[in-house]
Symmetry: C2
Subunit: 230 residues, 2 copies
DNA sequence: GGCGAAGTGGAGGATGTCGTCCACTTACGG
DNA sequence: CCGTAAGTGGACGACATCCTCCACTTCGCC
């Protein structure tokens, strides 16, 4: 055989869904249980929930949790990776849609639903955990794809001339504000807000000039992170 | 002199700006310093900032703080009373405006600016501290006034038929989502979002039916409070 | 001035979370 | 089977925050 000294490609990536395939069976099982517990706990109590709560819910000792996910960021990141890649493929679908306006709307509806349903996800999507290193690449890709989608929709006359890609971030941030409500309420609110905004995003009828104030300087990756204690 | 026995009208209201008039001079001074420190600290670190941080910033011992404001709610509540009553008078002005649409817009712009500028204020405005008892009456009044304003604006043809008072709460909640951004960004974002939404709130041109999904069941006082730890 | 009550600051016990360490258990290749 | 290394749970020390208690200081009236 060509080689042997355990010279595995160095952990090819961090935080991702690839549950190390050379993990003992029970360990891998536990890892999954922890991730699920994390999602549930975060949804119920927010991303600041005590680690021990996650461990308890998973039926696992804290040590296990800390061994698999040394920091809270790692846990949060890993817990929402699935949702993240779901968003990524939703973006691909949107780009493939022949009707860019429809594609954009569908995409945002999906993302907003996730935002409002899986509480804590905004923390990851909105770059609040910079430690999620490989997300940077992912995010750049997303940002670029979004910009393309927006440009196309605008050229197709489905978005007003003064629409700015930052308005997407604006919308996502706004939806985030609804996330505290009980699930059904939040869903209804999110749908309604989205509908309102999309109507406002369309080119205005010729009669109404309706100028906008300038777009805020926000990109998906540039949203401000809440200050830790100084 | 005509009278003396300190028979001041009994504390005409609670929780408000009327710093107990029969408080020793230095005590009253300290109370103000604490309130200002609280506003600053909350703005910088959020309403969960340690009480000791507030005390330190005010240049006071913790005991002083706790004597004046026995609970965190009391402090938060008191700290934002001024903003609250500012909002109340803004509502009165709006109701007095002969153009209900303009009044509503101006009102919301003021409130949103406050929301985005004084971080932590949403906590009070959005009923996150139920202990603020007298707010209940205040809130009921606000809710009623808002409903009236909305009705008038709708009757004047300045709001679409399917506009719902809950959409105001929706808007405020959405703006809350922007509050984490740095001040200037948040302000720009808030203005832009408001403009978008107000355009969507106008009656649609006859050509476009543009139905809305149902309004979420939210009143100003019914926003869900974040779960404490169970 | 001087005295009493109101006011004050900081120490300190209670509580809760973090993250590590280590003696025990379990999977799984031989 | 059985040995061993991977895996595990919970106890534990460090640390932050809460809030109370009490000896000392200051205000303001006589």
């Amino acid at each position: 055989m060509p080689d042997q000294t355990s010279h595995k490609p160095p952990e090819h990536t961090a935080g991702g869904p690839p549950a190390d395939p050379n993990l003992r069976a029970d360990a891998r099982r536990n890892r999954e249980r922890v991730l699920e517990a994390a999602r549930e706990t975060f949804a119920a109590q927010g991303v600041d929930a005590p680690m021990s709560a996650v461990a308890r819910r998973a039926g696992v000792g804290v040590a296990t949790l800390y061994r698999r996910f040394p920091t809270r960021s790692a846990l949060v990141t890993a817990a929402f990776t699935e949702q993240l890649s779901l968003c990524a493929s939703a973006l691909d679908e949107a780009l493939a849609d022949p009707d860019p306006g429809h594609g954009l709307y569908t995409l945002l509806e999906k993302v907003c639903t996730t935002l409002v349903t899986d509480r804590g996800f905004e923390t990851v999507l909105m770059a609040r955990f910079p430690e999620a290193l490989d997300y940077d690449k992912e995010r750049a890709r997303a940002e670029e794809g979004l910009a393309r989608l927006v440009r196309r929709a605008r050229e197709a006359g489905q978005l007003r001339e003064d629409f700015d890609p930052a308005d997407i971030a604006l919308l996502l941030l706004a939806v985030t504000g609804l996330a505290g409500q009980p699930r059904e309420t939040a869903l209804a609110a999110s749908r309604r807000l989205l509908t309102y905004l999309f109507q406002a995003f369309r080119p205005p009828p010729p009669g109404r000039p309706a100028p906008l104030p300038p777009a805020p300087p926000m990109g998906l990756g540039e949203v401000h992170r809440p200050t830790g204690r100084p």
